[in-house]
């Protein structure tokens, strides 16, 4: 079986599953409750108003015709109309999606990086205190409600320390008439967070300097200290300059909807830093909760790999431990991690709903929760369908990537 045959069969196998998913959604939202319009008004509207809504939304037709129209609409990318204002749901979903995508990508990055680093550390020191505490941490993180972790981080870093923003995606904004430009309000520089940022930045630069000095076999005193202090000074000057110069030009032109990408496309480092600052807490929250799985996976994989002959051979050739682990052994864990990313994608989206609600992140999850509060059942259906299709598509893509990367699958 060649690659092409595999791809075609895999796609064909996905189709009945998507059909089933769509039917399940239809069953839950249109068939099971009887009449979504009645639910929407909680029986508090006149018969005419409800009939009018049914007519506009096409809910007055027999169920099998509704089902057929629903499927045909989906094929054209039409998710129906909102019960709230009869506007097309697909427009609202497409405008909310980039925010969720940005959150999903960044938190996956956090999850994989944290997971791999901790997993490698645990496997290196198998059955030691490190190993046990990392495993316990993995379980504890798994048992934490995402929104609780999010609120604790908000409380500590946004509200008490004021280092990061607590809510939203970008500084409080004004929409320009064309609706495409975000304008930032002018803020007075807040000294406390700026001073606080020096603690982590200082520690990081200190660590970098010490490693560099160790490599070069130089002494810390006095050269190292001078290096640290000068790094801090330069960083501070840059920060102050940016804070002084940019408030007048704080608008962001939205092209892709991913604010980090948009700000880079504009070539504005300040806007990039700003969008990262807003992205930071949500993606750390979601990423940490997801990292447990990756830690466990990397640990078990590395435990197996580190005993193999080629690792011993690499060590025997005198390679450094870091090169052996990250250059040789970790490559074997790449494919399982990729598979796990696919399997975790559904969990990721579920977590994104809670994270977005916690951080007022204007993505799909928040849209769904908003619609629930308005009892806007057609919009709920649209959002749920969209979630289902994305998950199916991502799983398909990961499977295809897998086949591409691992020739054994194609056999």
């Amino acid at each position: 079986m060649g690659l092409r045959t595999y791809i075609i069969t895999r796609i064909l196998l996905t189709l009945p599953m998507i059909m089933l998913l769509l039917s399940i959604v239809f069953l839950i939202i249109r068939v099971m409750p009887g009449d979504p319009v009645l639910l929407h008004f909680e029986k508090k509207a006149s018969e005419e108003a409800m009939a009018e809504m049914r007519r506009i939304l096409g809910l007055d037709k027999p169920l099998y015709i509704q089902y057929f129209e629903y499927l045909v609409g989906l094929l054209r990318g039409d998710l129906g109309k909102s019960m709230q204002d009869f506007s097309p749901i697909s427009d609202q979903i497409f405008s909310a999606f980039p925010a969720t995508l940005e959150l999903a990508i960044s938190s996956t990055l956090v999850a994989v990086i944290v997971g791999v680093l901790l997993g490698v550390k645990a496997s290196q020191s198998y059955n030691s205190l490190w190993d046990h505490s990392i495993r316990t941490l993995g379980i504890a993180v798994y048992a934490t409600p995402i929104f609780f972790l999010g609120m604790v981080l908000q409380l500590v870093f946004a509200i008490n320390l004021r280092m990061l923003p607590a809510n939203g995606r970008f500084p409080p904004f004004l929409l320009e008439p064309n609706g495409l430009t975000l304008q930032l309000g002018i803020q007075t520089p807040d000294l406390v967070p700026i001073v606080l940022w020096f603690v982590p930045i200082g520690f990081a630069s200190l660590a970098i300097c010490i490693t560099v000095l160790k490599r070069k076999r130089l002494r810390f005193w006095p050269n190292g200290l001078i290096a640290v202090l000068s790094t801090l000074l330069v960083g501070w000057v840059i920060c102050m300059y940016l804070a002084w110069y940019f408030p007048s030009a704080r608008t962001l032109h939205i092209k892709t909807g991913l604010y980090t990408v948009d700000s880079l496309m504009e070539g504005s480092p300040l806007k990039f830093v700003e969008s990262i600052r807003y992205l930071f807490l949500p993606s750390i929250t979601l990423g940490l909760v997801l990292s447990g799985v990756f830690t466990r996976l990397t640990r078990s994989n590395m435990l197996e790999t580190l005993r193999l002959d080629f690792v011993t051979a690499a060590r025997a050739r005198g390679l450094k431990e870091g090169a052996v682990i990250y250059g040789y052994a970790l490559r074997n864990a790449f494919l399982p991690i990729l598979t796990m990313m696919g399997l975790q994608f559904a969990t990721l989206l579920g977590g994104a709903i809670l994270t977005e609600t916690t951080f007022s992140w204007p993505g799909l999850g928040r849209y769904l929760v908003d619609r629930i509060n308005f009892r806007d059942y057609t919009a709920i259906q649209g959002a749920v369908v969209y979630f289902a299709v994305i998950v199916a598509a991502v799983n398909l893509i990961i499977d295809l990537l897998y086949a591409f990367l691992d020739p054994r699958i194609r056999l």
Binding site: M17, L21, A346, T347, I353, L354, V369, N373
Partner: protein, 294 residues
């Protein structure tokens, strides 16, 4: 009756001590059992041991929310309710939902799994496809959709969570049955002329039970987290019942004022409860699959 109770007790204590001898996995089960039994009994006793009525408003005169003090060791929330009393009895809804959902999963998932794997052919294929589609669905999204349509209530919430986890039961039962069916002792029973139903109920099912128990304990923790999540997005049970998830949800609005006590204590209780059951599940699965330990 008394005799059997005594017998259970005398068997339970040695089994706990033997668990302790099974290394870290045994200890995980013991710690998990300790945490969950403590929290469950605390929740049951809650109404009797809490210093104030958990739903009575303005127990504390304004200003509210007020930080922890001698009178209110966990502070009070915006409505002036005593957080300690709310924490003490706030697990009841979550525990009820989790127990019910595990029960529903058990009632639905296990028979379907047994039937499907034993019938084979087109029945098996259909069930597997349907279950796989449910499994591929983002769990929380599915639960939210169902809960939003069914309305508030403990049973409705439990049902919407159960739908998410039935596929895991189905999968584990199916894969176990497929393995056990080929084992020599089942074959021997078949050769001795046992009927399909006898084999299924007397030879296969008892050996599937341990793995179902592991799935059930892990799912219990998941169900608690999902129940908390449903409450957080506004699909919780109600207002007048003390509930950790509800307190967390309401506490979010108080965060900007720095009222850490309103979210910290209920949140920690949810973490502890989920942690307890995860510990039991993890430990049990390691004890039952010793080959995973290296």
């Amino acid at each position: 009756m008394i005799k059997t109770r005594k017998a259970i007790l005398t068997r339970l204590i040695p089994s706990l001590t033997s668990l302790a001898k099974r290394g870290s996995a045994g200890w995980m089960v013991i710690i998990g059992l300790f945490i969950s039994v403590t929290i469950i009994s605390m929740t049951i006793l809650g109404p009797w041991i809490s210093p104030h009525d958990p739903t009575a408003k303005l127990v504390n005169p304004p200003p509210n929310p007020s930080p922890p003090s001698l009178d209110f060791p966990m502070g009070t929330n915006l409505l002036g309710q005593d957080m300690l009393s709310r924490v003490l009895s706030g697990g009841s809804i979550m525990l009820q939902v989790a127990f019910l959902s595990v029960l529903f999963c058990f009632i639905i998932g296990v028979p379907i799994g047994l039937l499907s794997s034993y019938a084979g052919g087109i029945v098996d294929k259909t069930f597997t496809l349907v279950m796989d589609s449910f499994y591929a669905f983002p769990g929380l999204v599915l639960a939210i959709a169902i809960a939003a349509m069914m309305g508030r209530g403990v049973v409705n919430m439990a049902l919407s969570i159960a739908v998410v986890y039935v596929p895991s039961y189905f999968r584990i039962v199916r894969s176990q049955v497929l393995t056990i069916r080929e084992l020599p002792y089942t074959e021997a029973a078949r050769a001795a002329g046992a009927k399909g139903r006898t084999i299924l109920l007397h030879y296969v099912l008892p050996n599937v039970v341990p793995s179902i128990v592991v799935v059930a304990t892990v799912n219990f923790a998941d169900a608690i987290l999902t129940a908390a999540g449903l409450t957080f997005v506004g699909l919780g049970v109600g207002i007048d019942v003390p509930d950790w998830g509800w307190d967390l949800t309401k506490g979010r609005a108080l965060l900007p004022s720095g009222a850490w006590w309103v979210i910290t204590f209920p949140g920690l209780m949810i973490v502890l409860l989920a942690l307890g059951f995860t510990f039991i599940g993890e430990g049990l699965s390691e004890l039952l699959n010793p080959r995973l330990e290296q």
